[in-house]
């Protein structure tokens, strides 16, 4: 990526466009604005943005359809903007290929953090020694060992895979479905109780205070997110 990353903001609210334009520009991004799905798709083809911020409520088309069309020929990271009470919408958008979501109303610091995470995961910078780091936690994928601040932790194979999956996507939300499919297989996409039980066990082992987790965070109704790296 040469020069400033280009962010395409798709939202039909002029006031949202306005504040995003200013704050994203001030944060070192180039900004392109689209107020409907047709413009968004046209601009996405013409300008090849590095990231798309997409509101799901567009005047001409369901925002979820835009995700589908973008995904047909692009892996561009997509951050979805959604209203508070729409967990199902968020999950659907994420399962369609959106990378993350942010709930309106939001502070700009939250959005900037999500953008950073998405742009970074677009170019993985994990060390090539097979080890994944998540704060104090070091996961050795080859030896299948986990250490917290140098102290080894015993994890069951499932717990290990779960932690590895989450750690491979630092700061990014993973839906229940995505995690269940990856760890338990497609037959178990609806077995959220499994997932909750294992997340609970994992927290008991890796969190300083399992009641108030800091490493594996819950996104209510959506999924889990690991803490963001620096």
């Amino acid at each position: 990526m040469i020069g400033k990353p280009l962010i395409l903001v798709v939202d039909d609210e002029p006031q949202i466009q306005r504040f995003l334009r200013h704050s994203l520009a001030a944060s070192g991004y180039e900004v392109e604005l689209a107020h409907d799905a047709a413009t968004a798709l046209r601009l996405a083809g013409a300008r090849d943005p590095d990231l798309v911020v997409l509101d799901l409520g567009l005047p001409d088309r369901d925002g979820k359809l835009v995700i589908g069309e973008l995904r047909q020929h692009s892996d561009v990271p997509i951050i979805v903007l959604s209203a508070h009470d729409q967990e199902a919408e968020k999950v659907a958008a994420l399962d369609l290929g959106a990378n993350d979501f942010i709930t309106k109303p939001f502070g700009i610091q939250e959005l900037l953090a999500r953008i950073r995470v998405c742009l970074r995961s677009a170019k993985p910078d994990q060390p090539k020694d097979g080890r994944i780091r998540l704060g104090d936690i070091v996961i050795d994928g080859d030896a299948r060992r986990v250490e917290i601040a140098g102290v080894p932790v015993r994890l069951t194979p499932t717990e290990f895979e779960l932690l590895t999956l989450l750690a491979q996507n630092p700061g990014r939300v993973l839906t229940h479905r995505q995690i269940l499919t990856k760890i338990w297989g497609p037959a178990h996409v609806d077995d959220t109780p499994y997932l909750r039980v294992f997340i609970g066990q994992l927290r008991q082992k890796i969190e300083a205070n399992p009641s108030e987790p800091k490493v594996i965070l819950t996104e209510p109704g959506v999924g889990y997110r690991t803490m963001e790296l620096g």
């Binding site: 508070h84 009470d85 967990e87 199902a88 109303p105 502070g107 959220t192 109780p193 499994y194 909750r196 039980v197 294992f198 997340i199 609970g200 399992p210 009641s211 108030e212 987790p213 819950t218 209510p220 109704g221």
Partner: protein
């Protein structure tokens, strides 16, 4: 009891009272009450209009025979005139004991026997003396008269029994129908009691949208024929009784009585012609009419009560809506005023304001937008609650949800100490995470607002019997006992005019918790002997094996 339920018995009865096999308080069993006619268990046999029974005639024969023997034995000692009196005794006994025909038979028999054995010339049927002719005539007259009177007495006793039983039945129904709390209960009582009147089948049809549908029946599962339906529909259309077709004619077996409420036929009740036939027909018809009338009154009462309740509920909803709008405009305007004021101050006076004043105004804007956002999400949840609530159920970890709520509350009140403790492993529950979180946020919000700055608000998630318990304890001044339930009422604010809020938070909580199948309560003093504890219990379904 309805006045019209008392009437005089008709006198043209021929049929016995049915002894019902229906269990219940009212049993038509006259012979248990006491029978003045000993030796006559079948009431049919002794009625003066009824045919003579074999037993009666045989008894008459025995009585007269005994008299003949007695007359012969006492022949020497008694004067001849008293013989006729002994025979008269036999006639009276037969008439009283076995009714009109037996008495008449005994009289005829006594006439012949007396004539044959005691009237000169003896052992012939010819009569020599005129006084003997008189004696024989008196025999016949007395026998007929006594038989007639005895039969009438018996019949009146029967009618009295029937009337008493009917009155008892009507009074039982009256009591039941006035006690009933639902239309279905009245219907059931009607069907049950109508069935007892004459043992005919009873069927209740509900009228809705110009159509009848079969409701309760006695016995259960009575099926109507096309003819019956036709008659029932006529009763519905004309709002008048549709009597059963006469015996031997093609037509409905049921008499259909419409129950008219508010000018429209609400239901139609059909009573089959009973096994009793014509005997107590008039009386039974009156009993049926009385039950139908009382049932109508009872149903009308319930229907009107329900309509009144609905009207009250609607008025309450309207009041709630307008109060909500008033409260909303206030609650939305306050943060907006702060935001607008701060922003315009910054724009107009930005350069002249000291740096810390600018920072303070900016913080005020941020805090007020947070407040607005909380109001809006509360509103959203309340709309969901009011519109019947589509629960988004999933297996959730209560500790996780409590953590989310605590985090949100901490973000809203940055300076406050809000502690969370999850006691041991807590089972998963099948619930709606977003709603539960909102409920907990509201409780914590309340606890923070009503306790002094610097005092901790403690949230504890624990397992109780078959439930997960989430308790929020503050160290405020507590809640008076009288107010403890009222705090969950809409707009009740415990006289807290100095604390900002809508008076909706805990009401929404209660709505949410109840929708999730749980319960909520407030205890004061709270779990550590001070302040208030608001406790939410949520059911734990069958354990899930992982």
């Amino acid at each position: 009891m309805h006045k019209d339920a008392i009437w005089l018995p008709a006198r043209t009865h021929k049929d016995p009272i049915k002894i019902m096999d229906t269990p219940g308080p009212v049993r038509l069993r006259p012979w248990k009450v006491g029978n003045p006619y000993r030796g006559a268990p079948d009431p049919n046999s002794a009625l003066w209009r009824s045919m003579p029974s074999g037993v009666g005639l045989a008894a008459s024969l025995v009585f007269v025979g005994t008299t003949v023997v007695l007359g012969h034995l006492l022949h020497e000692t008694l004067p001849p005139a008293s013989h006729s009196l002994i025979f008269l005794t036999a006639v009276v006994l037969s008439a009283v004991g076995f009714g009109f025909w037996a008495g008449l038979f005994a009289a005829a028999l006594a006439f012949l026997a007396y004539n044959f054995f005691f009237v000169e010339p003896v052992h012939t049927l010819s009569v020599a003396r005129p006084e003997d002719i008189l004696a024989l005539s008196v025999f016949l007259l007395v026998a007929a008269l006594i038989g007639f009177l005895a039969g009438r007495m018996r019949e009146e006793a029967m009618a009295a029994y029937h009337r008493a039983a009917t009155l008892e039945l009507l009074s039982a129904f009256s009591e039941e129908s006035s006690r009933a709390e639902g239309v279905e209960e009245v219907e059931a009582a009607m069907v049950r009691h109508l069935r007892r009147i004459d043992d005919g089948r009873v069927v209740l049809l509900r009228a809705a949208h110009d159509r009848l549908s079969v409701g309760q029946t006695a016995p259960a599962g009575v099926a109507l024929q096309a003819m019956d339906f036709h008659a029932a529909d006529r009763a519905r259309r004309y709002g008048a009784v549709e009597p059963a077709t006469a015996v031997g004619w093609e037509g409905s077996l049921f008499s259909f009585h419409p129950l008219t409420i508010g000018g429209a036929v609400h239901e139609v009740i059909g009573i089959e012609r009973g096994q009793g036939g014509r005997r107590f027909a008039n009386e039974n018809d009156r009993a049926v009419a009385s039950i139908v009338r009382q049932g109508t009154v009872a149903i009308e009462r319930l229907v009107l009560a329900r309509a009144a309740q609905e009207a009250r509920d609607k008025a309450e909803r309207e009041a709630l809506r307008s109060a909500l709008l008033a409260s909303l405009s206030h609650d939305l305007r306050t943060p907006l005023a702060t935001i607008l004021g701060s922003v315009t101050s910054l724009r107009q006076l930005g350069d002249t304001l000291p740096a810390e004043a600018r920072a303070d105004l900016l913080l005020a804007i941020e805090e007020e937008t947070g407040r607005l956002s909380r109001y809006v999400s509360n509103l959203l949840h309340m709309t969901r609650l009011q519109s019947g609530l589509d629960l988004r159920l999933d297996w959730i970890d209560p500790g996780d949800v409590a953590h989310g709520a605590v985090e949100r509350a901490r973000a809203a009140y940055p300076g406050r100490d809000i502690a969370l403790r999850v006691a041991g492993p807590v089972p998963l529950i099948h619930s709606d995470a977003a709603l539960l979180e909102q409920a907990l946020v509201n409780i914590i919000d309340n606890a923070v607002k009503f306790s002094p700055v610097g005092m901790q608000v403690a949230v504890v998630v624990d397992t109780a019997e078959q439930s997960v318990r989430i308790a929020v304890t503050d160290r405020g001044r507590g809640i008076a006992e009288a107010d403890r339930d009222r705090i969950f009422e809409t707009f009740y604010r415990g006289g807290a005019t100095n604390v900002p809020g809508t008076g909706l938070g805990l009401a929404i909580c209660k709505g949410i918790v109840q929708a999730l199948g749980g319960s909520i309560r407030a205890d004061s003093p709270g779990q550590d002997g001070r302040g208030t504890t608001v406790q939410v219990d949520l059911p734990v379904p069958e354990p899930v094996s992982a």
